[in-house]
Symmetry: C2
Subunit: 210 residues, 2 copies
Amino acid sequence: MSRPTKQSPERGNARIRLLEAARDVIRAKGFAATSVDDICKAADVTKGAFFHHFGSKDALGVAAAEFWAETTTGFFASAPYHDPADPLERILAYVAFRKAIIVGDLAEFTCLVGTMAQEVYASSPEIRNACGRSIFGHTATLEADIETARRDRGIRGDWTAESLARHTQAVIQGGFVLAKAGNDPELAREALDHLDRYIRSLFHLTEEAA
Amino acid sequence: MSRPTKQSPERGNARIRLLEAARDVIRAKGFAATSVDDICKAADVTKGAFFHHFGSKDALGVAAAEFWAETTTGFFASAPYHDPADPLERILAYVAFRKAIIVGDLAEFTCLVGTMAQEVYASSPEIRNACGRSIFGHTATLEADIETARRDRGIRGDWTAESLARHTQAVIQGGFVLAKAGNDPELAREALDHLDRYIRSLFHLTEEAA
DNA sequence: TGACGCATACCGACCGTATGGTATGTTTGC
DNA sequence: GCAAACATACCATACGGTCGGTATGCGTCA
């Protein structure tokens, strides 16, 4: 099972496996409560491999956040919510997509970097910053559509595209917190329903009772 | 400094000190990263006192969540946002109050039970449930005003007072996550501005550009 | 009233284990 | 044959938790 390195394409296999294992275990147990051995066991590699690839547990935390940023960027970039021609439709499709992917166990859909940021924001600025880059890098992908939609429709109000993009993340992250506290994924979906309603109201799409 | 127990009114002093220390340290470092010794040092008591009052570190976590629930309940019950005669005004005053108390260091205004719930939701159901009771017990205090305001004003829409009350918490908690990730309290205040705008729109208070 | 006994509050040394990290060896591919 | 990719054994420490002990206040009963 170990070291399936046969040809070069498999090279660096343990590193990826460690990052994936870290993602899964940390999402369930949190960063501090996750030991290096936990991650090694989940990745089916030894501690030697771990410290060969990562200088320390904190360094893995940073790498895990960056890995998260890369994989989620790819995931969202290829998601179907970009299809609508109208930018506002794309924004609403994004919210609907975020809601649609809330399925299965909590640890499968909650946000690694949101969880880690809450935990280590004071203990490890490096990890915190890596988490911040991941989160705010993602929100930035929404800004252009929001700004375009706002201009297209002549919307005026004392809010910016940047702040609304961040707010989507706040609602999503807050929904995850409530879902965990209540042990019920529906609480996360519920928050997104309110977000959808809010965005529609900002863009005057409010058909009464909708 | 230790054991100021002279008369009975001081009795149980160490327990309170431990709970207050736990609150402060855990808010800054997270539950798992906080050691029993950390808490003892912050409370200026010994480990003997700790395990005299709490059967385990997890038991302290539960007690800390309950202590948080008690103290915050008292704090919000005596807060000035209850003053307005109109229930909707009280709701908006609540949001403004939540924004107003976001001052100082992150660890001073963020939510203990939100942080803990994220961390231990899978590892310790006892702590998670205690956190859930604290959070949802607080949201429940808003429901009556929301429901009354809704009826008074004949508001119709596919949302309930309960879900809107929960949503306020989601926005608050999400704001905290973003504030930590970005190391900027303003991010939490920004989320509350959007929440204020959302509530006004639900109750048709939206004067354009406000 | 005061000596006694007892429960509670708290202290501080100690224990077994798990943890992050290291040093050295071994395999693999180029 | 050399460097990178792992494995294995090991170390020092920090951790949660235990245990025997001490101090303090309070009820009680002579």
